[in-house]
């Protein structure tokens, strides 16, 4: 009887040790949510193109300003800085495409969206759209450059993201926003 009880204690102890060992081993594995949400990053430079899940993106211009004027003439100002990214996007299969612009500064602060933010309009698969995206950042963010992220669709989590390291941001006094439209022959050059 004592021998059987001893065996039970031994089995119970071994199970506890196995569970603790398993838990310790699992701590070395990445968290499942982190893996699921990790974006697929694609570096892109000014004037170059990158293939994303939803289509092809080409960066045309990056500028900084404190004043933008929207397509109907309304003036929008900020105490910070508007970073304006102009790009061409050619959707692959349907009307899905980039919907946001995210900026990360060297302190790890994340900025997303801006008042007066503008979309690309209705995407037409196979036909390049000329888009303008804005993000409003803090004044001290742009000194040492910014990391700009353009997700393939709505959110960067678990999706393709074009990553642009913007070292220099040419400043303009005022930026005139254009509504999203299909790219003209001149814009395609």
């Amino acid at each position: 009887m004592r021998e059987i009880r001893g065996q039970h204690v031994l089995v119970g102890g071994m199970m506890i040790v196995a569970l603790l060992l398993g838990s310790w081993i699992m701590s070395f594995f990445p968290n499942i949510d982190d893996v699921r949400k990790r974006p697929f990053e694609h570096p892109v430079g000014l004037g170059s193109s990158v293939e994303l899940r939803t289509g092809t993106l080409k960066i045309k211009k990056i500028q900084a300003t404190s004043t933008v004027r929207d397509p109907v003439g309304k003036k929008i100002t900020t105490a910070g800085i508007f970073v304006v990214v102009e790009y061409l996007f050619t959707p692959r299969q349907d009307d899905r495409g980039p919907r946001t612009l995210i900026a990360v500064d060297d302190q790890g602060r994340t900025f997303e969206g801006a008042s007066g933010h503008i979309s690309c309009g209705t995407f037409v698969p196979g036909v390049p759209s000329a888009c303008t995206q804005l993000v409003e950042v803090a004044t001290d963010s742009a000194h040492s450059g910014l990391r700009l992220e353009i997700p393939a669709h709505e959110r960067p989590e678990g999706d393709d993201v074009a990553v642009l390291e913007a070292r220099e941001l040419p400043n303009v006094a005022e930026y005139q926003l254009q509504p999203g439209h299909l790219a003209t022959a001149e814009e395609l050059r």
Binding site: R92, Q93, D94, D95, G121, T122, F123, V124, P125, G126, V127, H181, L182, A183, T184, A185
Partner: protein, 184 residues
Amino acid sequence: MSWWRLNRWGLIALIPALAFMLLSSSARVWLLYTNDRFINPRPPSNYVQSLPLGDSATVIVLNVALKSVEDVTGSKELSVPEGARAWLVRVDFEAPVESEIGACQVALHDQHDREFRPSPEHVLKRKIYISTSCDPSPPKDAPLGWKRPAKWTKGWLFVLPADAEPGWLELGWAPPDYIHLPLK
């Protein structure tokens, strides 16, 4: 007595248990990811669609027929960018006057099954609002409480790349059913 023999009933019960587990997780995938997409094509005649209306629901019965598919790239009212073509697709609708035809989603698919949404804003020279839904637009002088007719025609303007040919039209109100209307 061997371990297999000792646990035979448990092992037998495990098979349907695993099957039920697989089915229930599949149902969850179905409900979460597929049931909110237009995945069930239906013919254009006598199309029945149930629509949620707040706490109640309504059922619409529609007959849809293709009227015309026209390449309107050269139209004076349009400015079509290089490498693209504009297509006007017109469709005849028929539905009882008392049926509420809510907003629908319209998409044109080409020969490569690429999906295009109506995009008149890209090519119309005059910046005017054009409904991209299925219900008829009321006439300019429509009185208050105007009711749509039992038969009407609706047209949508699509912009396609020059190499794309219109293949079929998707008209959907609430997933997963939609009208599949061939354009040839």
